[in-house]
């Protein structure tokens, strides 16, 4: 087992201001960035604020930016860096900072509330649901999401343009719309809610320019862009820009 001293720069401060602070800290075999942050807490900076929970990449709490890239600290192994490298850890830079590595992620919870929930079919009671595996596969992929909000953090639509936060739900919650629209038993349409249209009109799908950073940073490996956002854009096209589909649905609605 080998250990060495690593150079760390950790952002410390709050909304009033702050700075990158230098630390020299021991690193052992097999450790991840979160272990090092914990060592700093236990030995050098007991009040260093950081969020974490499961330390196994399942809860999505310890999101931060390591060397400028949005990552889960518990899933970033120290062995991906050279021993000479200075490792810079900052809070997520798309959200207001609270203290040190902790940010105010309230934006995401607000957006979550704006997506209308699953609408259960009126004619099925508990225990009567029948769904085929191939029909739930797509939505299941999106439900792997651990809500680490790294995709929300990296998305330039809100990261670089604070003013877009009002109109844009962000990749995580557009994916939630896609998940519900692909749910085999979601009865939103029967209740007068067309998720395909509202994706664009209310959740800001049009802001997405499919540059795929959300997919790049997703620690769960969900193909957010290819499997959720682009299909959702195509579904919006069905409703809004495709006269053939539009005509077809009109006729079918009339005949049924």
């Amino acid at each position: 087992m080998s250990s060495y001293k690593a150079q760390f720069k950790v952002w410390r401060g709050d909304v009033q201001g702050g700075d990158l602070e230098d630390f020299t800290v021991e690193v052992n075999d097999g450790e991840v960035v979160l272990d090092i942050i914990h060592r700093l807490q236990a030995t050098q900076a007991p009040d260093l604020a950081v969020r974490w929970n499961c330390k196994a990449g399942k809860c999505g709490s310890c999101s931060a930016e390591v060397n400028g890239r949005p990552r889960l600290m518990c899933m970033t192994r120290m062995s991906v860096f050279t021993r000479e490298e200075t490792i810079t850890v900052t809070p997520l830079r798309a959200f207001p900072v609270v203290r040190d590595l902790v940010t105010d992620v309230g934006f995401n919870y607000e957006k979550a509330r704006e997506v209308p929930a699953f609408v259960p079919p009126a004619d099925l009671g508990p225990g009567e649901y029948r769904m085929m595996q191939e029909d739930v596969d797509r939505s299941q992929e999106f439900r792997k999401c651990i809500e680490c909000f790294l995709c929300q953090d990296t998305c330039h639509v809100v990261r670089d343009h604070e003013e877009n936060k009002r109109a844009f739900a962000g990749p995580r919650f557009l994916m939630r719309v896609a998940e519900l629209d692909m749910h085999p038993l979601d009865a939103a349409e029967d209740s007068g809610l067309d998720r395909k249209t509202t994706a664009q009109d209310e959740h800001g799908l049009g802001y997405c320019n499919i540059t795929k950073c959300c997919t790049e940073v997703c620690p769960e490996g969900i193909k957010i862009t290819d499997n959720a956002l682009i299909p959702l854009k195509e579904r919006a096209v069905d409703r809004k820009y495709d006269p053939l589909v539009w005509l077809g649905s009109k006729i079918r609605r009339r005949s049924s």
Partner: protein, 647 residues
């Protein structure tokens, strides 16, 4: 004294894991204005770590399954110490609770005919676990979270405010349950982000804070598992039940050191994974205890056939209840047949094609690849026991989930005791959360409604002393009474590490009388030092302060575990005594209850010998005759005393 923000609610739920959220949903649907308080962000609770599934006798995979079979398995798993009425309700109601999740949007894996797929698990006679790959806990928590959001959307449509009837106070910690006489009157807590104190006044409080694993060094539990709810109940005057029963999950990661303890799901074995020692032997065949002899395969061939044809073969012993497997692994390692890093080998790579492994165990594949550089489709995992779950907990009424002796206090989930007896079966935890979470929410709401016009009053002196207690770590510089000057305050991180080491070494998976006595001395010492735990900085998101406050809870709960473990002179389920290796039928109907020595709830008493916890024994109610009739006589004689059998 600090100015404290006060709000009025009908039901306050402490904890936002599966049980807490299910309780909150039920209370809100019953018309109670409900507040949920959680230490982490909403949706991050430890429930997300549950992997295998939710046990419910829906009989989708095997038509012979029924609640009676599930009840039987649960009682066997718990070695008949279970609060049998809870086990009965649990087995009966679990399918409803699972189906209900589907109506809230959950997407379980499916059978060929479109129903919920069910998988095998240790101790369950039939495939019974509804699951989503190996991330069932995430699905559960997300579904409940989204159900809460949908209720908030409904409230928003009706009142214009999302939080008018159901609000989540995230990143807040409760440090005291407040009382008016013997009744609950609310909770006192602080916001982690700002450090500000608050009081929620409410006639009903549901405790759903999960477990105590963070008192042990090697654990699968997250930082939140500091036994807060157990301590809150104790301090409020409610007893804890059978705290000696702590489940060590047989398969945690053992390498690298930084991830030691992280869970390797039981589904690995349920789906065909096998345990081998360093000699390549499937050693579990040597560890089938007598009470299970008829139920498990005697040869590898029979065990392997069982996956395909479970009706005509017996299951492999890798699927014995967790306590048996954990002890077996422990023995193999002690006998020098362990793996290089002190575990044993768990192998799926030779049992299934790589594609199947990646599909059925995606997060295990991911976890080993990312954290240990091990490709589980090509090589065996190294695993060893890890502290996983506490069967003991707040003593509750089986039907209402009401804590004993404190009107208005309810408990559900891991923090409640009794349901699982001396050992919990895999998959029974998630169903427990749902069944008893709902019951707690239901009865808490009814109780609150009954007090609508005579709400218990919050006592200001209790609020003041709670605030003083919470602020003490900031003024810990001074010497303790009777000690020499100039000693620096204790570092809470150091105290925590020493506590974990002591519990792991002295009250761990195999217990001895002398070691537990030593543990009690160590706990007394830590208790004295913890009073001088000091913190730097200010109140805004200060993890050192948070830990200093959590230490109180961990020390209380650890003492309960150590004292009860010392008292119970037998081995049963999650409690193994090297000096009393046999299961004793005379202990079968004995519960151990922990209470505060000083019932006023003050924690001034630091007398190392006396400690803070007093134990009492209690004889349990006899198991109802129709439930006993579900078992064969031959089986019952192994567990029950003569006179219990022929009543």
């Amino acid at each position: 004294m600090s100015v404290v923000d006060r709000q009025e609610w009908d039901v306050v739920v402490v904890g936002a894991g599966g049980a807490g959220l299910r309780a909150a949903i039920e209370a809100r649907e019953r018309g109670a204005r409900t507040a949920v308080i959680c230490k982490s962000l909403f949706g991050k609770a430890h429930t997300v770590m549950a992997e295998g599934g939710i046990a419910a006798a829906m009989a989708n995979a095997n038509e012979h399954d029924s609640w009676q079979v599930h009840f039987r398995d649960t009682m066997r798993g718990g070695k008949f110490l279970n609060q049998w009425r809870m086990a009965e309700l649990h087995a009966q109601e679990a399918p409803q609770r699972v189906w209900e999740l589907e109506t809230w949007g959950a997407l379980f894996d499916r059978t060929k005919d479109g129903r919920i797929s069910q998988r095998n698990f240790g101790g369950h006679e039939y495939p019974r676990l509804a699951h989503v790959g190996d991330r069932t806990g995430l699905e559960l928590i997300r579904t409940l979270q989204q159900k809460i959001v949908s209720l908030q959307q409904q409230d928003h449509r009706e009142t214009g405010d999302y939080e008018s009837r159901l609000k989540v106070f995230q990143e807040c910690t409760v440090t005291r349950v407040l009382k008016d006489g013997n009744r609950v009157s609310g909770v006192f807590g602080y916001e982690r982000e700002s450090g500000r104190f608050f009081v929620l006044e409410a006639p009903s409080v549901v405790i759903a804070t999960g477990g105590i694993g963070k008192s042990f060094k090697v654990t699968s539990n997250s930082w939140e598992y500091t036994g807060d709810g157990h301590a809150l109940a104790l301090l409020a005057g409610a007893p804890l039940l059978n705290m000696e029963f702590v489940q060590f999950h047989p398969t945690g990661m053992v390498w690298p050191p930084s991830v030691k303890g992280i869970l390797v799901t039981e589904s690995v074995r349920g789906d065909g994974g096998v345990l081998r020692n360093s000699e390549g032997k499937r050693f579990m065949f040597d560890y089938i205890p007598d009470v299970f002899k008829e139920k498990y395969a005697e040869s590898e061939e029979e065990g392997d056939r069982w996956y395909e044809d479970p009706d005509h073969n017996r299951r492999p012993p890798e699927l014995l209840p967790r306590d048996e497997v954990a002890r077996a692994i422990n023995s193999e390692v002690k006998a020098g047949r362990g793996s290089p890093h002190g575990g044993v080998f768990l192998d799926v790579s030779t049992r299934m094609p790589a594609e199947v492994i990646k599909r059925r165990l995606p997060s295990m594949y991911h976890q080993f690849k990312e954290l240990a550089d091990v490709d589980i489709t090509a090589e065996a995992m190294e695993v060893g026991p890890t502290c996983h779950y506490v069967m003991g907990g707040i003593a509750v009424d089986s039907d209402t989930a009401a804590a004993r002796g404190v009107p208005g206090l309810y408990a559900a989930g891991e923090v409640a005791g009794g349901m699982h007896g001396s050992n919990r079966l895999g998959g029974n935890s998630l169903s427990d959360l749902l069944v008893f979470g709902r019951r707690a929410g239901l009865h808490a709401a009814e109780y609150a409604a009954s007090l609508a016009f005579e709400r218990p009053a919050v006592d200001d002196t209790q609020v003041d002393s709670a605030a003083a207690e919470a602020l003490r770590p900031f003024s810990a510089e001074g010497p303790a009474p009777g000690e020499e000057d100039g000693r620096p305050p204790e570092n809470p991180y150091t105290l925590h590490q020493e506590l974990q080491q002591a519990m792991n070494d002295l009250v761990g998976i195999i217990r001895r009388e002398a070691e537990m006595a030593q543990a009690l001395e160590k706990l007394a010492e830590l208790r004295v030092r913890a009073r001088r735990a000091g913190v730097e900085g200010h109140r805004q998101f200060n993890p050192g302060w948070h830990l200093a406050l959590d230490l109180r809870n961990m020390l209380l709960v650890s003492e309960c575990v150590a004292r009860a473990a010392l008292e119970r002179t037998e081995s049963r389920g999650g409690h193994t005594r090297e000096d009393h290796p046999a299961m004793e039928r005379t202990w079968r109907n004995i519960n151990l209850l922990c209470r505060l020595t000083d019932p006023t709830g003050g924690l001034a008493a630091t007398d190392p010998v006396r400690g803070q916890i007093a134990l009492t024994r209690e004889t349990t109610d006899p198991i109802r005759a129709d439930l006993l009739a579900l078992f064969d006589k031959e089986e019952l004689v192994k567990y029950l005393a003569e006179e219990e059998l022929y009543e």
